[in-house]
Assembly symmetry: C2
Homo-oligomer: 395 residues x 2
Amino acid sequence: MNSLFADRIADVPQSFIREILKVTLDPSIISFAGGLPNRQLFPVQGLQQATDKVFATAGQEVLQYANSEGYLPLRELIAKRYAEKQGLDINPEHILITTGSQQGIDLLGKVLLNRNDHMIIEEPGYLGAIQAFSLYRPQFLPIPVDEKGMDLNQLEMTLSTTQPKLMYTVPNFQNPSGISYSEENRQQCARLLEKKKLYIIQDDPYADLCFVSQTKTSFRKLLPEKTVLLGSFSKTVAPSLRIGWLIAPPPLMEKLLVAKQAADLHTNYLAQRIIYQFLCDNDLDQHIRTITSAYGAQKDAMVASIRRYFPEGVQCTNPDGGMFLWVTLPKGVSAMELFEHALAAKVAFVPGNPFYINADDTNTLRLNFSCMDIPTIEEGIKRMANAIKQLLSAQ
Amino acid sequence: MNSLFADRIADVPQSFIREILKVTLDPSIISFAGGLPNRQLFPVQGLQQATDKVFATAGQEVLQYANSEGYLPLRELIAKRYAEKQGLDINPEHILITTGSQQGIDLLGKVLLNRNDHMIIEEPGYLGAIQAFSLYRPQFLPIPVDEKGMDLNQLEMTLSTTQPKLMYTVPNFQNPSGISYSEENRQQCARLLEKKKLYIIQDDPYADLCFVSQTKTSFRKLLPEKTVLLGSFSKTVAPSLRIGWLIAPPPLMEKLLVAKQAADLHTNYLAQRIIYQFLCDNDLDQHIRTITSAYGAQKDAMVASIRRYFPEGVQCTNPDGGMFLWVTLPKGVSAMELFEHALAAKVAFVPGNPFYINADDTNTLRLNFSCMDIPTIEEGIKRMANAIKQLLSAQ
């Protein structure tokens, strides 16, 4: 019966990370491979109290089918936060509550991409986006990113030779690399894109996990008509509730709503109400400060350990936020080979290749710093350092 | 920017029901147009107690990201119920928890349908399925259904002249018509289909809402290798939690899992745990008996009122379960025109046309009986009877 499968499903890369995560179930392994927020910091009590209140005040209503757009007071609250935090003027009617921001990616692919349409994607880029968009069979146009942001020469060249319909970007504390686009890089990108007929998807799951004081300008500010924003409570409240959102200009929103209805009718309504009640009764910014203070210290410890223990010639990013940093091995050294040595030394990470459109192997890798305490981070980095030295000396 | 939309989104029928539901927000209108379970019967207390227990015993864990397949104990419990209720031997590993059974439909379309692939669909058929599959641009092959089940001549002819990849069927208490396939009709369908290379999707959201004593044979029993089962707790526990499931043979399941990850990573995990705890601590069958006893009495009252008040020549189905029945007006009488008269008489329903693949107007319509008490049903049917008489006398 295999020949009954649609062509699109043949093109999707296997989830290599899934396989890695299985390997790292062994508790003696220190795993920097995951991408989870630290569960110790989940606001369990606040969410439980919010849930009690929701059941007590609206028990029957919150169990019924709900509208596809999402709970309006929650959308109003999201709009208010954008105004306060980023000076963005968002109409709550232009916000769609999604089943995690991953669903936003899928809906945008569905509504915008015909087969072989061109779309710009960062390299390295978010694996979940590569997987979701792949199902609509576009031609990816990868543009390298580094600690300044997008490679502007490459972007300019790509825009002059192709007609991309879509650009997908994570300009703040990107997964997998931890990099952020500089203020200047954003302005330059916007200048190159402003005359083009395309949508820019700014996926911003880590925006609030910021270790420094200032927020950088959103593409929504620079190119409001062209920009779709994706956001999520997964990293700031709790991921299991699958509450994300999507902000899109009206003509696009209308189509997205049709796709949302076909996808799952509406997002879990009880969960929307729990999050809303939690946000009404608690200080989210205070909670975010608790998270960023912990993640920031863990990131600092990881970068310091890397600088101390890794051999010369190995580099890493030093993110201003988020959950990941990116390591570059000396040219020609295989992250896949290192993975084998590291596993033997009881430490794990994600080799860089699944974050590229076409790469069998790379000299780059992703480390997660959100999930472990500082002594564990130091021990894990020491183990990795030994594995790297072992690999280098064998070459 | 409209020209940036993908071709697939142009083909999706507008949700006429959405528009109707807006009209019926007027509280003076008795609406048979909705498709909601009766909120008075939601097990609010049981779900609240289950939630408290889940938070108290696994607060941090239930807020974290979870696996894409779904909570294994919940899948085991679903498998156990299939064994007990329908004598079906289901491996829990072949169950995928979905964000409502609507998501199951979408994932199956994504994994199976290339553009212009043929697929069999019931006529009238479930609107949400027509909408979801339309996005993958198949050629629908509608087969009429009536109170015996599928039109076997038409099915045979269709199978001899086309090569459908998929058949979508709701053989128990169908939405919109309330009909169920007879035992003999199922056997005959299976005989016609058994040599064909296709998947049969049996969507079964209403299976438990059965007003009579015996359950009919599942296509999963008749054609196990070919059949995908969709199920849901939306009609038996609560819809807002969006917990459905999909049961598929292994090679298909592997592909569905890839599509599930791309769609929303995993189904709301807190909600999965709440439902599981609720099912452990409560007698679901007892709760279902409460629901079916209420819905059955409401259905009986509706059918009796129709027979008493509607003019001769108007017919209706008399469902053995579910939430809907189907009215057929005399030939040539327009349900769309009746809708206008009915609204003026302060009663609403859904005209039949959105449930057909290509129909601008029909002489059929859908009535929902799950949401109102018996006096309201009687009053609403009287109002409809007057509207019908008025329309007929004007012709």
